[in-house]
Point group: C2
Chain length 502, copies 2
Amino acid sequence: MDSNGFRNAAISSIEEIIGYYDNIETRNVVSTVEPGYLRKLLPTEAPAQGEPWADIQKDIEAKILPGITHWQHPGFHAFFPCATSYPSILGELYSAALSGACFNWICSPAVTELETIVLDWLAKLLGLPDCYLSTGATRGGGVIQGSASEAVLTAMVAAREKYLCETVPADLDGEARDDAIAHKRSRMVALATTTTHSSTKKAAIILGVRFMAIPVRAEDNYALSGPVLARALADCRARDLEPFFLTATLGTTDTCAVDDFAGITSALAGFVPAGAPGEVWVHVDAAYAGAALVCPEVQAATNVALVAGFHSFDMNMHKWLLTNFDASCLYVRDREWFVRALTVNQAVYGNAASDGGLVTDYREWQIPLGRRFRSLKVWFVLRSYGADGLRAYIRRTTKLGDDFAAWLRARADLFEIMTGPSFALTVFRMVGRPESDEDERNALTKALYDAVNATGHMWVTSTVLNGRFGIRMMTGVRTTEKEHVEAAFQTLVGAAEEILKS
Amino acid sequence: MDSNGFRNAAISSIEEIIGYYDNIETRNVVSTVEPGYLRKLLPTEAPAQGEPWADIQKDIEAKILPGITHWQHPGFHAFFPCATSYPSILGELYSAALSGACFNWICSPAVTELETIVLDWLAKLLGLPDCYLSTGATRGGGVIQGSASEAVLTAMVAAREKYLCETVPADLDGEARDDAIAHKRSRMVALATTTTHSSTKKAAIILGVRFMAIPVRAEDNYALSGPVLARALADCRARDLEPFFLTATLGTTDTCAVDDFAGITSALAGFVPAGAPGEVWVHVDAAYAGAALVCPEVQAATNVALVAGFHSFDMNMHKWLLTNFDASCLYVRDREWFVRALTVNQAVYGNAASDGGLVTDYREWQIPLGRRFRSLKVWFVLRSYGADGLRAYIRRTTKLGDDFAAWLRARADLFEIMTGPSFALTVFRMVGRPESDEDERNALTKALYDAVNATGHMWVTSTVLNGRFGIRMMTGVRTTEKEHVEAAFQTLVGAAEEILKS
């Protein structure tokens, strides 16, 4: 494909993408293909000779789109959103054209520097304390990771390094030191809660350290409270376990609960004081709801200023902030621990700027070596929307969730809100008949869930809270307008009434 | 930005990208900006109001491109290539438009199924044994990872799981089992060589297991041989260490050496027989040179059929196979070990297809949960070029490397080949004057390296082999033609003669 072939192919692709977005509502939200559908449609081997673009492009509508679940569909109320926007797509386009494995500053200075700058912009928008800025006093800063899972893994590796440095006696060496470290490793435990995202457990598995999920309580709104954490820490100490890492969540997956940062701070102070050797590294997982921090009222409500006392913070612009997957923005208060834990030097990567310590080499802040130019789309989005545009979007979609919850309340004969509305997410269930027991309410709610998802016009996911089955209704997708949420509510009402009749 | 705004912006971006490629030779290969250049050009905060696209786009040429090192420049002879091609860019464009966090099959069946299919296509092209196909008898298959670093980390996690399952006595439970596992962990060692890519060491650090780099020898062409491995294994046993993982390399970073697969097979057979409990998991890192396996003559020369006796294999289409970063194609002989090691279930991700075991959920084959639609660009590239087109490209760029080495040999008065040509990479140095010692040869070669890189027309990187400084000349970039390699050679000759004169 030469320049002119690319011009024609690209223009045709752009038109197809515009048509896809303009008419997305005409498609089923969720793909209805059967497992194995695509193998029946494609040859078993790559072609021997190259094919013209026109033949390839026509297979997108014919063979690929039937197998796509449309995350940008206005009826997508499942999980959390996975964002995109036109400026962000342009960012991916340029990033692909400027492809490079930019592991070092010199491999493309703009890739490193733009990332540092736009992550500072974002930190200020989110109201993060200054210690998370690249210019802050504690040598902090931000780095774009591929996902929140990679962010928590990276943070946990740094936390383990810090803990071992601080707690293994410095005067040991050789075999004695190895033994002491092996013993420590066998006692170290990463803490989370029963509503923390599974990525923390996965990171602990990868590191080979213990993992403990602290049960949260309905009366704490399924969030981690100070007293519950204090008891868990005391329990660890009684069992000779050494907590070195805690994930605190701003917006849990199931219900968008926010852990009590003030309570966590005081519980930890009673265990190992902040800054003392062996303190617990606190990582804040704000993967989804962190986007809402662009609004000052959310900064105040979530006590985000308290993360100044924690160690790392992560939010995904690619969930609720109009930016393509992947853009997981990880901030650290002291980047030194990342660099100490993750730097592996090899002669071939040496260069004057790196060796002189003049620049940031983000390969030392992440698991992989190479990296894409991910900050370009972040820059395009922040500039295209502006701070006001981002706030307006978050407030608009949050309001849709509040409206939806109000409508649920107005039909208390049918529905009961279990949690929320919180960050455009409400969890609810059917109340059933006056004589319904919990099993029947679960069965009715499950029937409602199946019925509305079967329509193809909307997609909701579910959760189970203290044995009670609930439907999660999320209204954060960019294309979702009030009319779509109203239509979804009417679908729910109609289906619920039908289920009660039968 | 509405549909029409996107149309105009995208068309303008496409033209800018075409202009960039058509005129890339007029730019310096390596960016010449000073550290911190971009902070001086950008505001300290995101704008309050959104900006028009025209203002954003003009900053690409004005502020970003000066900070780009051009990996697609025909004078880019550094490291290994980081590929792109027009069909691949279109793949990224569609992937961005169809954005979703496709962690489960149902989250977009096409994303999972196309990946399985095109990785089978690729495995056949590379001549991998059938056990690495998704349809093979050993429950194998391929998965696209973000980088070779993530691939080796994932493989090592699976290998650790397998080793612990096979070697910790099954009749232990509770505290006794925990103790046995903790003891094992403290003795387990991941093996590589002094020329293995640093990602294996990084993975061992992340897992918290020991790492041992086996020294390779110049007489083995800097590759791992059977006898050297056998000695290292015996040494581990003597020290009560338990080797559970070995990275074997097809195309090392420094010199593109290929480890001796036959020798490795027989050394391992003499340690723990293949298939016996506690066998060493062998991961093949073919990140760069694996691309050349599309040519049958390379399959034969590298003994790739022997990887049937190993456990995992990884190559990056994004290096030398015309596909954008990221597309690290990881194959496993038995996917069960990935799934056992990496599956962490959470209620919110449950669905009928996954729960029924009907489909592949790639989140269980990788560190992150979410994933981009990366197979689309692979599909576009395989179809646009066809098998013949890919082979022609590999043979053309390999030949450029062979030509370059022949020219070096013809100027034996100036240059000495240290290794290669191997997979479009030659490592060479200056011979210096008859009376030159090793220090002087190093100094002359370093002076040559600095001089040619200072021209801006070409970029080479360096390595150190047994204390001898060498220049790596790589000719694998898509835009590099014979005239560019000739020009680079003339630049080298001119600079070398100049250095010898002064």
